[in-house]
């Protein structure tokens, strides 16, 4: 199968024989420096970012449940800490998304392009 061109538009899965012939090529691409750099760069961002947003997100229900008195503390007027924390979750999500997209455009896309170029040059 020529890689880099679009696959034929059909529903049938690739036959095992074709797949077996293909596998060397995919593994070859997987072992290129460009691909390794791409995967590494991606995980270096995605793994800590995912851990961070999970902790930040679950901090809200846990604080509400474990420290109800603190979370009901009113900051301005009757606006309490629980509501401000909830609003900060929106900001957190938008900021993380912004950084991901910036990183993806600057770092991941050029690396992926290199791998694609190598793939279209053949085996």
């Amino acid at each position: 199968m020529e890689v880099g061109k679009s696959l034929p538009r059909q529903s049938a899965p690739p036959s095992p024989a074709a797949a077996a012939g293909d596998e060397v090529h995919w593994e070859g691409l997987e072992e290129t420096d460009e691909f390794r750099q791409l995967v590494q760069a991606r995980w270096r961002f995605v793994a800590p970012a995912t851990v961070f947003f999970l902790i930040y997100y679950f901090a809200l229900p846990f604080s509400n449940g474990l420290f109800p008195g603190v979370m009901r503390t009113e900051i301005i007027g009757h606006i309490n800490l629980a509501y401000v924390f909830a609003l900060s979750e929106f900001v957190m999500a938008w900021v993380l998304a912004y950084f991901y997209i910036r990183q993806a455009t600057r770092v991941f896309d050029p690396l992926a392009e290199k791998v694609r170029r190598r793939a279209s040059q053949g085996k």
């Binding site: 797949a19 995912t50 679950f58 229900p61 009757h78 909830a86 694609r116």
Partner: protein
């Protein structure tokens, strides 16, 4: 009420015309399912927002906040943060490896027959559960617009299907929606989603501004008013957490039950989105991974802004209308008509009625009510369209073409036959969801229902299969089928044993939690892992491991991704 109904019908009529026009242009399968893969990033972002913000967001969250205060806002928070999971882990790999459906991606590595069958099963389950809540939402609107409809149609609905009498309003509006949807296709729904997303944002902004205007744009006096609304059971002010699930009342596994419910809900909210078939399908309509990414960014901006506005919509309804006065028909002074019970799904329309009357007089109230009801209806219709498409493509493309016609009755399948099967599936899923809606009842909160069933199935069945297919080398067909089928079955089983959302609440349910995610989601992941090891032991599936290299490269880079006809 005539102005309300007329205006409502005009807006609905316009959407029907758009569909009819688009249906004539939908000819090939790639058009029907993936809109020819030519949708731009920002358009798709609007369409994702349109697909995502259903009755649950527009009617449900406002209702939860109006009836329970702060705790309802947790749904808004979770449903936005969920998009980080989608953005970081799912959107781009999905576009790079998929074709029409989730199962296309899974069957790159896995044995297609079992995986496609299992994925069709979980997809239909998620879609039916999701759609059930939409039917309830649409039924609530009809009950407001035509308060006598239920009474008048009752004699014709005096028969039971499997022990459940259909709700006349829900059945009627549900059937109408199914007819509308089955006539159209993805081209129609992409545009309807965009139109609808704009309408929905417009409606939310308008009502939010009016709420703020009521308080002379003084945020603090708005919160003073919310604070003055107290919950009858706990005595807490509505600004405080702990009303929906009161803290310190009961423990489960040695932990405060309310805390467990909230964490369990949170798990379903933030992990479920990444496994929703109708949202995943949206990533196949864009030209490339970059466009998939930018569409998530657009969607996050829109969805987040909307969810922040639920503060005004929900708390506004609580403070200005009041939970006791939110029902299908009101008499002078915005009190419930005698004999009617409050229905939290009607908070938004009731708020619109109140604000319109307050600012512009009685006609203004009818007008604003009609507008918000029409927006809500367009919202529901568009989501039902997206869900139908996901369910019918899973069944028709994955199961019928991929399994039945490829493996059992060989032969070429014409596109016409495929689309016909898709339409029959759509009709069956629609009827199933109308029945389920009647079974749960019209007063169950639609946001709680969606988060409590559809999102949990998506997170426990679909998410493990997708994540492990993309990122775990040893994962195989056994693991995928175990999570797809097991996650779905466990979720439905726990929800059936649990207290559910029907009122009055079940006293001693066999399973104590409303939100079953905290059990079901880990079970789904464990099943995927155990299934994989069993598959390894019986050496059933060598291909899955070999093919990991291919999906690894494809997912990360987009090599060999399904091309767009107009080029990337």
């Amino acid at each position: 009420m005539s102005i309300t109904l007329t205006l409502f019908l005009i807006v609905v009529g316009i959407t029907l015309v758009i569909t009819a026009w688009a249906a004539r242009r939908t000819k090939t399968t790639v058009q029907f399912w993936a809109a020819g893969r030519t949708i731009k990033g920002w358009q798709n972002g609007l369409a994702i927002a349109g697909d995502y913000m259903s009755a649950a967001s527009f009617l449900g969250i406002a209702g939860l906040i109006a009836f329970n205060g702060y705790d309802g806002f947790m749904y808004s928070v979770g449903w936005l943060v969920a998009y980080l999971t989608v953005l970081f882990l799912i959107a781009e790999p999905m576009r790079n490896t998929g074709k029409y459906t989730m199962a296309d991606m899974l069957s790159y590595r896995m044995s297609p027959v079992p995986v496609r069958s299992a994925a069709a099963f979980s997809t239909v389950a998620v879609s039916a559960a999701y759609m059930m809540a939409q039917m309830i939402g649409a039924g609530s609107l009809i009950k407001i617009l035509l308060p006598d409809l239920d009474k008048n149609l009752k004699p014709y609905f005096d028969w039971a299907i499997f022990g459940t009498k259909l709700d006349p309003s829900i059945a009627l509006v549900g059937l109408m929606m199914m007819i509308y949807v089955i006539a159209g296709g993805m081209v129609a729904t992409t545009w309807v989603q965009i139109v609808k997303a704009v309408l929905l944002m417009g409606g939310a902004v308008l009502l939010s501004l009016l709420v703020l205007f009521y308080f002379n744009f003084n945020f603090l006096s708005f919160f003073d008013k919310i604070y003055s609304v107290k919950d009858k059971v706990t005595g807490l002010p509505f600004t405080s957490p702990g009303i929906l699930y009161p803290y310190g009342k009961a423990t489960i596994w040695g932990v405060d039950k309310a805390l467990v419910e909230n964490v369990s809900l949170g798990l379903a909210l933030i992990l479920g989105t990444a496994g929703l078939p109708h949202i995943l399908m949206r990533f196949f309509t864009v030209p490339n991974a970059k466009a998939a990414r930018s569409s998530v960014a657009w969607a996050m901006g829109l969805i987040g802004s909307f969810y922040i506005m639920t503060t005004f919509l929900g708390f506004g309804a609580a403070a200005l209308v009041g939970k006791a006065n939110i029902c299908a028909q009101v008499v002078t002074g915005f009190k419930c008509a005698p004999g009617l019970k409050p229905n939290n799904n009607m908070s938004m329309p009731r708020l619109a009625d109140f604000l319109g009357t307050y600012f512009f007089g009685a006609t203004g109230g009818e007008f604003l009510l009609a507008f918000i009801a029409a927006v809500a209806f367009a919202t529901i219709l568009a989501v039902v369209a997206g869900l139908t498409l996901a369910a019918s493509s899973a069944f028709s493309h994955d199961f019928y073409v991929g399994v039945v016609r490829t493996q059992m009755f060989h032969g070429s399948v014409s596109e016409r036959e495929q689309v016909l099967v898709a339409r029959i599936t759509a009709a069956i899923v629609g009827l199933l969801s109308i029945w389920l809606a009647a079974r749960v009842g019209a007063t169950a909160n639609v946001a709680a229902l969606v988060a409590g069933v559809a999102f949990v199935i998506a997170a426990s069945a679909n998410l493990p299969a997708i994540l492990f297919t993309l990122f775990w080398k040893r994962f195989n067909t056994w693991g995928a089928v175990a999570s797809l089928v097991g996650g779905t079955v466990v979720t439905i089983w726990l929800v059936a044993l649990g207290p559910g959302w029907t009122l009055p609440a079940v006293v001693h349910p066999a399973f104590p939690l409303q939100n079953v995610g905290i059990v079901a989601i880990p079970v789904g992941f464990v099943l995927a892992i155990v299934g994989t090891f069993i598959g390894d032991l019986v050496k059933a599936d060598r291909l899955a491991e070999v093919k990991f290299h291919e999906i690894d490269v494809r997912a990360q880079t987009g090599v060999g991704a399904e091309a767009s006809p107009v080029g990337a």
